[in-house]
């Protein structure tokens, strides 16, 4: 199989405009002859479904929550990037492009990232027109902040609830199309298989989560906007229902999965507090603009602290190690996420971690409060401080926050070409579900940008190019391909229900999560990865013999829903390990301990690994086949990232 990224010819800055001119168009009157399925109603899915409906296509949209407004995008806090340069601080499309490529440690496609930076400016206009209440200055113009290691202020935000406001904007556009009858919405409906006819994506099989009914939907094209797979780790900042099932089942039907081991561990999350922990809570990265990260200078002090012999406020200034400021004087507390996370782990590994478990570092606002006053800090971060207090029962105005890294985002995902089409004709992937724009590490405030770019401004053009070359004929859901897929879904469901074993789904999920965290998390090495592969296989075998799923299919059955998802995580986890084993270098969020500089920084191997690793499924338990898409860098020079 040859991977054709379909990057248009020409100069970087002209590719997208030229491509938009060259793509085939569907005549407005003919658009209603085409049906499009959009799975997922987060930023990527809702924006796509609404825009495709506006254009005149017949859209069916699906989500597993009770309303499209509840997609996981709702939880994004910090903001969305756009190269508006409203602050006149030297930002530009090229700078946003450059920062994203560099931040991703040179493992993303230049052409896609440039386009993302280009359309970023349109996103803000669109959202404001919808009534999204972004933060404003007293003069009435939009406010910006600097975010996640950027040296310009290009992040637009709505207090700590940017994702909510953007999603409600996209939801409102979606609602308008639902009211017009151009989009039909299927909430509480889960996609469990992709249907292909003549090698093309022609529909999906879903389960109605209220009645359990298994049904088929047919279309001319299918868009997966089903989010990321961070919940492989069980504990993550993702919503409880976030899952990989749609993407994974498409993978099993032939869609390549790219860079699965590229996961982002976010440095500022509330540490784990007990065995019962069900998820982790992010404390927005914007906190690092004013908070200073530190641990005690010596192991002895850290030990006394952990034993409760002293409290944090007893530790003298000279006994505190502001390690990010010490090691990275230029960027200080604002180093990229992967660097901040890894350093927190290093400090805790040295024995200088805080909190009862020693798995936490401090994020301290004392200086900022002294400098600006408590009201000013409350105005910036009040809701985050409240959230922290609610969860931990500690007051961050008086005591530094305790934070620790947690799984947050997955850069890997379904392989797509420049048109966001997977290698299966007619199957598209957008938003966090695809692998496209963030390389080995995503910059803060860039996921929201990508989701909306894909949905509002990219796919509406590129899908037309495909449909213009597709006959109007519909495939009936009575076609044998649909019946076979339905049968497979029913068989898997029946199998899960029939096992009646002794171990709960959550128990398996937790065991998998621990393996992934310990061996395929912030730091990896070949030996550990090999061990993890072996253990995951054992766990998966046990799952299919010993999982306990109660109830029946024909009812609302949350245990069964989870069982389907965890079954897929148990396969995906192994692929992540395979990918991490294959990549004998460190880059971005993928840190192989064997490959580091003397200062413990990630050591890339551009000679041998400047490629996208796209994996082909060959059967559960079989070795997947690797396809490489070489990455060409013509507009940036590959350098060792340095934030010193």
């Amino acid at each position: 199989m040859i991977l054709d990224s379909k990057i248009p010819e020409g100069a970087l800055a002209e590719k997208w405009d030229k491509h938009k001119f060259n793509v085939k168009l569907v005549n407005p009157a003919n658009k209603r002859k085409y049906d499009i399925i959009v799975v997922g109603t987060g930023l990527a899915g809702a924006s796509a479904a609404a825009t495709l409906g506006e254009l005149g296509y017949n859209v069916k949209a699906f989500c597993f929550q009770d309303s499209p407004r509840r997609a996981h995008s709702i939880a994004a806090q910090g903001g969305i990037n756009a190269a508006k340069n409203y602050q006149n601080d030297g930002d530009s499309i090229f700078r946003l492009f450059y920062d994203t490529i560099k931040g991703g440690d040179y493992r993303a496609r230049e052409a896609n990232v440039y386009r993302l930076a280009q359309v970023s400016v349109n996103i803000i206009d669109q959202c404001v027109a919808q009534g999204v209440p972004f933060a404003r200055e007293y003069g009435g113009l939009l406010a910006n902040r600097s975010f996640g290691g950027a040296q310009v202020s290009r992040t637009f935000y709505a207090r700590g609830q940017t994702g909510q406001q953007l999603l409600l904007g996209a939801y409102s556009a979606l609602n308008r199309q639902i009211a017009y009858g151009k989009v039909k919405m299927y909430p509480r409906t889960e996609m469990l298989d992709l249907v292909m006819v003549d090698g093309k994506a022609r529909g999906i099989v879903v389960r109605n989560l209220i009645t359990g009914k298994i049904e088929s939907h047919s279309a001319h094209a299918v868009v997966l906007a089903t989010g990321g797979y961070g919940n492989v780790f069980f504990l993550s900042t993702n919503a409880m229902g976030s899952n990989a099932t749609a993407a994974w089942r498409a993978h099993k039907k032939g869609a390549l999965f790219a860079n699965p081991c590229f996961t982002q561990i976010h440095p500022t999350c509330i540490p784990v507090s007990g065995e019962y922990q069900s998820k982790l809570t992010l404390m927005s990265e914007s906190l690092r603009n004013d908070g200073r990260v530190w641990v005690p200078k010596t192991v002895e002090i850290a030990q006394r602290l952990r034993k409760g012999e002293i409290t944090v406020n007893d530790i003298k200034e000279e006994d505190r190690d502001y390690y990010l400021e010490r090691k990275y004087p230029a960027f200080g507390n604002l180093v990229p996420r992967d660097v901040a996370s890894r350093n927190a782990k290093l400090m805790c590994d040295e024995g200088r971690g805080v909190g009862a478990s020693g798995l936490a570092v401090y994020l301290d606002f004392a200086d900022a409060i002294r400098r600006e006053g408590q009201p000013a800090i409350a105005a910036k971060y009040g809701n985050l401080f409240d959230m922290y207090a609610k969860i931990t029962d500690e007051n961050p105005y008086e005591k530094p926050m305790r934070i620790y890294p947690a799984v947050h985002y997955t850069m890997g995902g379904l392989w797509v070409d420049y048109n966001l089409m997977t290698n299966i004709p007619g199957l598209y992937a957008t938003g966090e579900c695809n692998f496209s724009d963030h390389g080995a590490n995503r910059l803060g405030a860039s996921a929201l940008m990508q989701g909306l770019a894909d949905g509002y401004f990219v796919i509406p053009y590129t899908i037309g190019d495909y449909l213009a070359q597709t006959p109007y004929d519909k495939v009936s859901v009575d076609h044998p391909a649909f019946k076979e897929a339905e049968q497979n879904v029913k068989a898997t469901t029946d199998r899960l229900l029939a096992i009646k074993g002794n171990r709960t789904v959550d128990d398996f999920h937790k065991a998998l999560g621990l393996l992934m965290w310990d061996y395929c998390g912030m730091a990896r090495n070949a030996e550990g990865l090999q061990f993890a592969k072996h253990e995951i296989r054992k766990l998966r075998d046990e799952f299919w013999q010993n999982v306990k799923v109660t109830g029946v299919n024909e009812e609302l059955n949350q245990t069964l829903e989870k069982a389907h998802r965890v079954a897929d995580f148990l396969e995906l986890g192994e692929l992540m390990v395979d990918d991490a084993l294959n990549r004998n270098e460190s880059c971005g969020g993928h840190f192989r301990e064997e490959y580091q500089t003397p200062e413990n920084e990630a050591l890339r191997d551009d000679e041998n690994y400047a490629y996208v690793a796209a994996w082909e499924f060959t059967g559960v338990g079989n070795e997947p086949v690797l396809h490489k898409e070489e990455l060409k860098f013509e507009n940036v020079k590959l350098t060792q990232r340095s934030y010193k």
Binding site: D66, Q126, V128, F134, L141, T504, Q558
Partner: protein
């Protein structure tokens, strides 16, 4: 483990939980004793513990809605000891922690009760009426593309901030559950006034108010009698001012209807 409060003692509780097979079957409260609950757990983690115990015993776990567990998606609900989202003000059920309960407590857990929110199963209700109200007019009629530059629409910060406050409604339905008439006025008014305050949304403000209120009536929500119970239980503090604003828009709409 790193409990934030290592001295906190585990507690034993008695739970009375509404169990209902489906929409067409009558439900009832069932009692479950639960031991050894850490005060640092969230309320939903406490229910996770119960569900794991039920599963191990081969019993059906309790169905409840949840997703983000961060107080923002609006998916969680629960009527806890007669209060929507439980005893803490300004807190969703998923953000409620067990430290607000005591050893030996009996906790009654029921679904939202409202004719417009029929029960699907156990503690899960059907809130699709809220989506249909939004579909009736909760948007600005703009298509993607062809909109002006964002800074061409300056908006005074005070107004932008007020619009934001109204826009933070998470669509959870606690206001309906808390209201003796099961009115959805707070929910509807939040969207109507967010958009009516902004220049982008002003153009359609009257039609929007009329259409959303009409849909609210169709869905079978009760009338608003201004008791304020909704705002008292709203986890994100949506203000009663929005209802006043809705009434103004609505009466204005009736006087000069654009719905022609």
């Amino acid at each position: 483990m790193a409990g934030s409060n290592p001295n906190a003692k585990p507690m034993d509780l008695t739970l009375k939980i509404w169990r209902q097979k489906d929409r067409n079957t009558a439900g009832q409260l069932v009692t479950y004793p639960l031991k050894n609950i850490s005060p640092d757990m969230s309320f939903l983690e406490m229910l996770d513990v119960l569900n794991e115990e039920l599963l191990v015993r081969g019993e059906e776990p309790v169905a409840f809605d949840h997703d983000c567990r961060e107080g923002i998606c609006g998916m969680c609900s629960l009527f806890i000891n007669g209060r929507a989202h439980g005893p803490e003000r300004g807190t969703t059920t998923c953000q409620l922690h067990m430290r607000h309960f005591n050893h030996g407590d009996t906790i009654t857990i029921e679904p939202w009760r409202a004719a417009a929110f029929p029960v699907h199963k156990d503690l899960i209700v059907d809130r699709s009426a809220f989506d249909r109200i939004q579909q009736a007019g909760g948007y600005v009629s703009v298509n993607t593309g062809g909109v002006p530059d964002a800074n061409e629409i300056p908006i005074p910060k005070t107004i932008a901030d007020k619009a934001f406050d109204a826009a933070t409604c998470i669509g959870c339905g606690a206001c309906v559950a808390a209201c003796k008439n099961a009115s959805a006025m707070l929910f509807v008014s939040a969207k109507v006034s967010q958009l009516a305050m902004l220049p982008q949304g002003k153009v359609e403000a009257k039609t929007r108010a009329e259409n959303m209120v009409a849909q609210m009536d169709v869905e079978g929500f009760g009338a608003c009698s201004n008791t304020g119970a909704c705002a008292a239980e709203c986890p994100v503090g949506i203000s009663l001012d929005n209802i006043a604003m809705l009434n103004r828009e609505y009466l204005g709409a009736k006087a000069s209807s654009e719905n022609v």
